[in-house]
Subunit: 299 residues, 2 copies
């Protein structure tokens, strides 16, 4: 499956996010060393850094300096990484391969993987609460912490995981599948966009609503692309076990809508996302690029 | 093993904390229902509510109204409950009994127990960040969120769990054992005291240091009492599997120091705790009572 890669501006921001993550995580030489090794392994193993890019692209739309966005970018990626560690556990998806490497519990054991995920979640709140760039603006920082906490909880990502668990082996409708993904991956993606806007000082309700629409649409689009890649690509290309969803009897867009209708839905979502941010004009160029990337990413 | 019970003022605050927790947790009728059922089961199953009591007792020492302390009290207990759910998992301590009832994963399955713990951690930050009583004081609330996040992370509770994992089957020195407990249970206990002080507007460094000493001492005292109860009480009395630590080859104070020296150390820690708060006089009566309770609690 072909696809497009990130352009130079987003690629530079992705590198920036990698560097910020490496600084944010405790050194593996610090005690407890094994826990810190597991945390670094889980976060620093590559990945597209989509969520940090959404923070930066949204913040840049409103003119925020990248320094003002680093902590939020780090926080959302750390949350994402923790969710993957727990998701891959034997009691959950039981996956041995992630981003082309053995999963965290394969390398460090189940107990340490559980703890690494737990400590990462705390670290995300810690990093954001201690953001040096926003120290003088506690009200904004509090709003951002509320956004992050809501996105992680039982009405957000963790709730979506619970819906996902309940869906295994079930025949879901397209609406039920959408609801599950709206929580499971959508909540954190929408939060990433909102965090970028809040850090940049954007408080206009109409603009925040438009960004919510954008985030919702690309969150679902991301998942459809994921499902399409899962059935069409090989394991080496994906860096995770291909065909896993179907084998695990997990509901997917291609299984429920068919491949052609899934592609059409993906295209419609990207149009919705682009229309939502159209009023922001060229300032939102990076958000436009990210929407197209989500639709056509190669892996 | 005999012991003392809570006096009427602390008992009333314990009941208050129970009510606040029941309100804070999403209703089990709200979707995702199974996740919310598991979260409520994990938190509302009784327990001593030591951490909420520490928040309230410290806040009361500085004259704060209980309403100003409810959110922090809820947050620390939710964090404690999540840590127990993950600690009891098969990959961790593999315990089937807690507070006289089957553990969360026995009732809801491992995957749901992992998710319930994850969602509870997020909920604790959510509750604190949205504390209605401190909304007008974002700087204090931010300080409190920083305190909570640090207590939960790899340099706090999760770090202590990792040290605990590494200690199984090892011969620890008394100093290593103390270090492990200083993180594992101590970090959240110290944070509970500090949160009560911060919510009450106490910022005097000397007072916060004295409270840190108090929290550190009763945290360790709590653990020694736990270890003594574990070898001396029966399962029915404890509400969790008795003799479990020794069977699991876990290092304990009685195993390392002997029973008599453990009792002496416990008494010394309580003296240290009481001496630290002596300058606060009668205003700290509830903290004094809690120190004695920790030393002599019956289960």
């Amino acid at each position: 499956m072909n696809g497009i890669e990130l352009g130079p501006a987003l690629l530079a921001l992705s590198t920036r996010a990698d560097a910020a993550l490496a600084r944010a995580l405790p050194e593996a030489t610090q005690a407890p060393t094994e826990l810190h090794r597991a945390m670094r392994y889980a976060v620093l193993g590559g990945g597209k850094r989509l969520r940090p890019l959404l923070v930066h692209a949204t913040g840049a739309t409103f003119g925020a300096a990248p320094e003002r966005l680093d902590a939020a970018a780090v926080a959302v990626e750390i949350i994402h990484a923790y969710s993957l560690v727990h998701d891959d556990l034997p009691a959950m998806d039981d996956d041995a391969l992630r981003r082309g490497r053995p999963t965290c519990h394969i390398v460090f054991g189940e107990a340490m993987a559980i703890l690494a995920g737990d400590a990462l979640q705390a670290l995300a709140f810690d990093m954001l609460a201690n953001d040096p760039a926003l120290r003088e603006d506690p009200a904004t920082l509090l709003d951002m912490l509320r956004t992050l906490a809501a996105a992680c909880g039982s009405h957000g990502m963790a709730g979506g995981q619970a819906l996902d668990l309940a869906a295994v082996g079930q025949r879901l409708s397209a609406a039920e599948l959408e609801r599950m993904h709206t929580y499971k991956t959508g909540a954190l993606i929408r939060a990433s966009v909102r965090l970028g806007a809040l850090a940049a000082g954007c408080r206009a309700p109409a603009t925040l609503d438009a960004l919510e629409t954008y985030g919702h649409a690309i969150g679902l689009a991301f998942q459809i692309r994921d499902d399409l890649l899962d059935i069409q690509a090989g394991t080496a290309q994906l860096g995770k076990t291909a065909g896993k969803d179907a084998a695990a009897n997990k509901p997917t867009y291609p299984a429920i809508l068919g491949v052609d209708a899934s592609r059409a839905e993906l295209a419609a979502l990207i149009r919705t996302a682009l229309a939502a941010i159209a009023p922001l004009g060229d300032a939102a160029a990076l958000l436009q690029e990210l929407a197209r990337f989500v639709a056509e990413r190669p892996s």
